[in-house]
Amino acid sequence: MPEQNVTVSLKGCLRGAMMCVPVFPGIIALAAVFGTVAAQKGLTFLETVMMNSLVFAGASQFVAMEVYGDPLTLGTLVAMVGVTGAVNMRMLLIGASLRPWLGKVPAYQTYPALYLLTDLNWLLALSEYGKGERDWGIYLGSGVIVWTVWSLAVIPGYFAGSLISDPKAFGLDVVLPAFFAALLVPLWKGKRQTVSWLAAGIVAAGTWYLVGGYWSIFTGALAGAFAGAYLDD
């Protein structure tokens, strides 16, 4: 089968952005909670916005705020950067799996766009690629919209404190995991997935019990990828 050309169009960007709408409540709640946490920890408004929009990686921001203490010392700084790296280690794998698609796009376009890489737009982009989509605006548009919503939602969270007093009461904390679980469904094709996901699940659960934290994402994902790679047809 000849490979189709990979393109980018405004229409594709808009479609990618629209696909993120169902998870807006989850993103908004998470960013607002980050704003509240940052305010409670004594960050200034500018510091909060900078961290939120520049680092742009939810879980690692929360973990870094756990480590943070005022006044900030050099040791704490190193710890904050260290936990950020540990939590975001999975980005290596996520980025690697985009290579077959974005590899055909010029580097001067992909490398800036990789700044917007999150689990969410990566997953949307890959599931569309699986359906035959070759407009990488899906990735770009979803990345831009998620960054924008994430960047804005931190503001009410910072000032209103407990604007959404308890996100859990509205089920907002399950929005993102539920979205992931839903996107997992069409990825299942047969035995290869069953074996790979079992390997990922066992190793992730084992890592979680033994080490805790976010390492389980990395170890589980690697185990699943190896299982998939070495299961011959």
Partner: protein
């Protein structure tokens, strides 16, 4: 809003910049490495297995931590998706079930 709101500690700015650089290096690094390795059929299969494996490894610890209620919500989301193939309905149902369960104190 006061001037203090728009001030930033210098060391904190440095921390944010370092965190951003590390995160970007991870975002771009995996992609970069894959461009320099020959993609064998085996590696292609591994890359294809990666998305599902990452989702399983991300979601499972959330369930282990969140307990029965969270697990139930995600099963609802997956079940709705199997039948309807509409992500937004699946997400809505999961959140509704979570809100319902918590209202009853589970």
């Amino acid at each position: 809003m006061t001037d203090a709101a728009f001030s930033a500690d210098r060391l904190f700015v440095l921390a944010v910049l370092c965190m951003s650089v590390v995160t970007y290096a991870l975002r771009a690094g995996g992609y970069w490495v894959m461009g320099r390795l020959p993609i064998t059929p085996r590696m292609r299969r591994g890359l294809e297995a990666l998305p599902g494996a990452i989702i399983v490894s991300t979601v499972l610890p959330i369930v282990l931590q969140g307990g029965l209620a969270v697990g139930l919500c995600l099963i609802v989301a997956a079940a709705v998706q199997v039948r309807l193939r509409k992500e937004y309905i699946a997400v809505f149902c999961a959140a509704a079930v979570a809100a319902g369960l918590r209202a009853t104190g589970l």
